[in-house]
């Protein structure tokens, strides 16, 4: 998983098992509710997609949230016009996001480095501003695009009853949840989660294939030294553009899935700080690694859900065993980092990671693993060394 020792097939199988067990694993942490687990899967997809662009080619896009928003809007429009079935909605969101990525990528990829970042940022901000102003007929402005009872819904108009329909997969409701009791733990098995998780596994598998393919190798070459590639007569543009479009389609899929879980779409999904969050996830986990982005997305979404819930009362509870004055001071300090202030924690952790651990959490795990491994190897080496010395002495004799 963290080295080359484990084969891809094993990684994939392990990955599937972990993803399938998330409802069970997350339950003791208090994170086993459907909305959060869906976020794990969906933002995992988003981060994998971003990593295909940033991790492989080194092009830092600061406008990826635009594709997420476009995907959401497309999916909700499909729900409104065609059917509440999620399949056409997802297909459309991937396609539309792909077209957007093609256009934006075609223009932005003419420049590299910081200029590329600024260009993608400019395009994303344009989409965001337009969604709020002129495109209100399509995006419904600040209210956000929502379902309504009098939507046409050509394919399932017959089934529309007095209440708003929910997205489904051939009749299987995305919100359907079955609570199972496992050793006293309430484990919630949510269809929406498993549906997204299936896509996560698919996305992971495709990313893995890309990483191992000649195409992926070419992208890595772009990151390492684009000039040298150009000098050898390779036109890198088609490769980077392909990576950009794939990455955009991943984001579109994630946006579509978000709409499937909760059928509404708003422009705030496209604001540039949302793009920043995608970058945070990828870097925190480890850009350029297969598993890093997914770990980053999960950690951030988990921390967001947990930390933002604590308030001063809860924090004070932790320090109850301390003397009053000290407890109050500690509470005052710690309370700044949780609840509404959890972004402060995020920012600090992110700065620390970028400064000391540019490879992200995955590199951290690898370093710890390497440290433990080296201690084992050291003994071997010492033994080897003494053997050699022994050999020398015998030879001298």
């Amino acid at each position: 998983m963290f080295g080359s020792k484990i084969s891809d097939t094993t990684t994939l199988i392990l990955f599937v098992i972990v993803v399938a067990l998330i409802p069970l694993l997350a339950a003791p942490l208090g994170a086993g509710y459907p909305a959060l687990m869906q976020f794990f899967a969906i933002f995992g997809i988003l981060a994998i997609g971003f990593n295909i662009l940033f991790g492989l080619t080194g092009y830092l896009s600061f406008g990826h949230a635009a594709f997420l928003g476009v995907g959401s809007y497309s999916a909700v429009w499909m729900f409104k016009l065609l059917s509440m079935n999620v399949i056409p909605a997802l297909i459309l969101s991937i396609l539309i996001a792909g077209v957007f990525a093609l256009i934006i990528g075609f223009v932005s990829l003419r420049r590299s480095g910081i200029y590329f970042s600024i260009l993608t940022l400019a395009f994303a901000q344009m989409s965001y501003k337009l969604a709020y102003s002129v495109l209100t007929p399509i995006t419904n402005g600040e209210t956000g695009l929502q379902l309504a009872l009098d939507d046409p819904r050509i394919l399932d108009s017959a089934r529309t009853s007095g209440q708003l329909p929910t997205p489904n997969l051939f009749g299987l409701d995305m919100n359907a949840t079955r609570v199972v009791d496992v050793l006293g733990l309430e484990v919630q098995l949510n269809f929406g989660y498993f549906f997204s998780a299936a896509f996560l596994v698919l996305a992971f598998w495709i990313a893995m294939r890309i990483f191992r393919s000649p195409f992926g190798l070419m992208l890595k070459a772009v990151k390492t030294n684009q000039n040298r590639l150009n000098y050898t007569g390779v036109n890198t543009r088609p490769y980077t553009l392909a990576a950009f479009v794939i990455s955009g389609m991943y984001a579109g899929l994630a946006g579509g899935l978000l709409a499937c879980m909760d059928p509404l779409a708003g422009a705030e999904r496209m604001v540039w700080t949302a793009s920043g969050e995608i970058v945070l996830m990828t870097i925190l986990g480890g850009a350029g690694t297969l598993l890093g982005p997914i770990i980053g997305a999960t950690v951030i979404k988990f921390a967001e859900a947990k930390l933002s819930k604590f308030n001063e009362g809860v924090v004070h509870g932790w320090f109850d065993f301390l003397p009053d004055g000290l407890a109050d001071v500690l509470t005052w300090v710690v309370a700044k980092f949780v609840g509404d202030g959890w972004h402060l924690t995020l920012g600090l952790v992110f700065m620390l990671v970028v400064t000391f651990l540019p490879g992200g959490l995955v590199e951290g795990a690898r370093r710890i693993g390497g440290y433990l491994g080296r201690r084992g190897q050291k003994e071997d080496l010492e033994q080897l060394g003494s053997n050699v010395q022994g050999g020398k002495t015998t030879a001298a004799e």
């Binding site: 080194g58 830092l60 223009v107 003419r110 420049r111 590299s112 480095g113 910081i114 200029y115 970042s117 600024i118 260009l119 940022l121 400019a122 395009f123 901000q125 344009m126 501003k129 337009l130 709020y132 102003s133 002129v134 495109l135 540039w272 700080t273 920043g276 970058v279 870097i283 700044k336 509404d340 202030g341 972004h343 402060l344 995020l346 920012g347 600090l348 992110f350 700065m351 970028v354 400064t355 540019p358």
Partner: protein, 342 residues
Amino acid sequence: MGDIVLQILNGLDKGSAYALIALGLTLIFGTLGVVNFAHGALFMLGAFVTVTFTNLLSFERVTLSETETTAWGSPLEIREPVLQAWFGDFGLWLIDYSVLVSILVAIPIMFIIGVVMERGLIKHFYSRPHAEQILVTFGLAIVLQEIVRTFYGANSISQSAPDALRGMMDFGVVLGFEPGMVPYPTWRFVYFFFAVVVIGGVFAFLQFTTFGMVVRAGMADRETVGLLGIDIDKRFTFMFGLAATVAGLAGVMYTPILSPNYQLGMDFLVLSFIVVVVGGMGSLPGAVAAGFLLGILQSFASMNEVKEIIPGIDQIIIYLVAVIILLTRPRGLLGRAGVMED
């Protein structure tokens, strides 16, 4: 004609803010080669220095009146700013002019913040890729704005300009138009004037002092200046402090125009970056020119006549210009060759 002058004037105040922030960004980029995503946060910090300073100045003392009583029979509370009690009219004058007076406070504070930032964090990122510089300063920006939020809350805090500078002035009369044709808020004119002074000051400092000459030499060829036995790092640290001060002052003076909240910096950061890129990475005159240009363009785009032809243009004009410039003149308007062209 009056309309056009009015739109140009309207563009000037936003343009001044863009120009000031972009100037600082370019200074940092040109000297240290660092892409500073936390620069908007410095603008925001400047604004909050004013907020804090005004709060301190208008600290009130409550005394109970001995003669007057309220309708309920309890003694009337008299609220009186401490400064007024101490200094009388001069105290009131200080409170009225708190925004202008806070400039004096903001200069050392912002300079120290800038130097601490450079020595404490940015220093370690010189030899690392630009992507990592962007990321770490982006993280720093989040941290700074969240710290401000924990202390000041998420709501905008309004600041008022001094009484004498609060109203409208009839700028048209100066240019020979009919009175009443070009009404313009006085404070925005003050802001523009202030921006011109600061920008002029920075340019003069770079152009006419020995220190500035060394810095310019360092921007052109850092290694050679180092070989001549000059501690260029120390001077660049000073320039970072100066850039932080310029951004902070831009924020201080902007408070009466736009009530600051903790996200103020992020909004301005994106636009200022675009200003820098349009002006040409590493070019100081380019940054200033592009700042004013984009500010004016934006105000023209928000005219109703223009909006009728191209709906929504006011929202995206800056980004659109940036895209066009980057694609047609990759170095920006006044950019030098060889800057960030890897």
